[in-house]
């Protein structure tokens, strides 16, 4: 019995080591969104297309759509743009942009240069709506269903692989739900 006690340190260490090994493969930087399965927060903001006229939740599509947080300063957004452009051209799903902490001029120029995949570009120049969305940097991407409920959140750049493996299945699911 006494000798068994002496094995306690090595047992404790082994448990610790297993957790540390697991920890190596955990991504501790991607915050799970608390907003999942909650309705998209309310807003009253300008849109790039509407000038001074304010838009709100009612102006968003009635069908499932993607809400993409972007900015002209954001290099990864440049990488995502062709994917979103293709999605728009093929009519897969409407994409709403939230121009996050940017200036209107820079944003318009960026869209002119790189193509505009957005059906609507909401202007969140102060980052206030970003806070309501739990955003901590661009790009972040939400998938919203036809009821206006957030169903999925992707943090960081969406590349082709992420689009095919993560985004498309969710889109298919929420669109199927909307049809039924």
């Amino acid at each position: 019995m006494k000798n068994l006690k002496l094995y306690l340190p090595v047992i404790g260490f082994a448990v610790l080591a297993v957790f540390m090994w697991r920890g190596l493969y955990l991504d501790s930087r991607t915050l799970p969104s608390v907003l999942l399965d909650r309705p998209l927060p309310e807003f009253e903001l300008r849109a790039l297309e509407t000038g001074d006229q304010l838009v709100s939740l009612e102006d968003l599509p009635d069908e499932p759509f993607i809400l993409n947080i972007w900015g002209s300063y954001c290099l990864p957004c440049l990488q995502e743009n062709p994917i979103f452009m293709a999605a728009r051209e093929q009519g897969i799903i409407p994409i709403v942009g939230v121009n996050y902490k940017d200036t209107d001029d820079a944003a318009r120029e960026w869209l002119d240069d790189n193509g505009n995949p957005f059906t609507l570009s909401i202007v969140d120049d102060t980052g206030r709506y970003g806070i309501d969305l739990g955003v901590y940097g661009a790009p972040e991407t939400f998938i919203v269903d036809s009821q206006g409920v957030i169903r999925y959140k992707h943090i960081g750049v969406i590349d082709y692989q992420a689009w095919d493996d993560e985004i498309m299945p969710v889109i298919a699911a929420v669109q199927a739900e909307a049809r039924s």
């Binding site: 902490k101 206030r128 661009a138």
Partner: protein
């Protein structure tokens, strides 16, 4: 886009580079707010220290130069000036960023071990210490005492001699 580095204490050594995802105009780590009372200003500082910057490696809102940290400080300021309580401000943060943003984890079933673990360690420590003390008392009975007295005498002699030598040297 301007690359920014977020450093904290010994992270200086390893210095993992974190590329900010936000525009460079948000770089100002120092923002200037006017408060009506000293208490408000103090609350602002305390609250900024209680929340973790959601974008950075490991920094609170005060020390983080990140863009979203500045935005969140602005929200804290707004809510303080609107007269909201600390609990309301915490609830605001929690509803948007989840438990990650609280540097002082909430006491839940899952954090029970975290909060009471140290107390548990202390109790175990005290128990172990007492066990050792008791055993040490019982394992050297009788004969141990006489040996101890003998030793003490030797120690006294030794100390005296040592002091003598030392003073000789001096």
């Amino acid at each position: 886009m301007m690359p920014m580095r977020v450093v904290s204490g010994f992270a200086l050594i390893v210095m993992l580079t974190l590329v900010s995802l936000v525009s460079d105009e948000a770089q100002a780590a120092i923002d200037v707010y006017e408060f009506e009372t000293v208490e408000q200003e103090q609350r602002f500082r305390d609250l900024s220290n209680e929340f973790r910057c959601p974008m950075c490696q490991n920094a609170n809102l005060t020390s983080s130069p990140g863009g979203v940290a500045a935005d969140l400080r602005r929200e804290i300021y707004r809510m303080i000036m609107e007269g909201q309580t600390d609990q309301e401000i915490e609830a605001f943060m929690l509803a948007r960023y989840g438990d990650f943003i609280l540097y002082r984890p909430r006491l839940t079933m899952q954090t029970l071990l975290l909060w009471f673990g140290p107390l548990l360690f202390l109790l175990i420590g005290i128990w172990v210490a007492f066990t050792i003390m008791r055993r040490s008392g019982t394992e050297s009975p009788g004969s141990g005492e006489s040996l101890n007295a003998d030793e003490e005498a030797r120690l006294k002699k030794l100390l005296a001699q040592k002091n003598q030598d030392a003073s000789d040297q001096a």
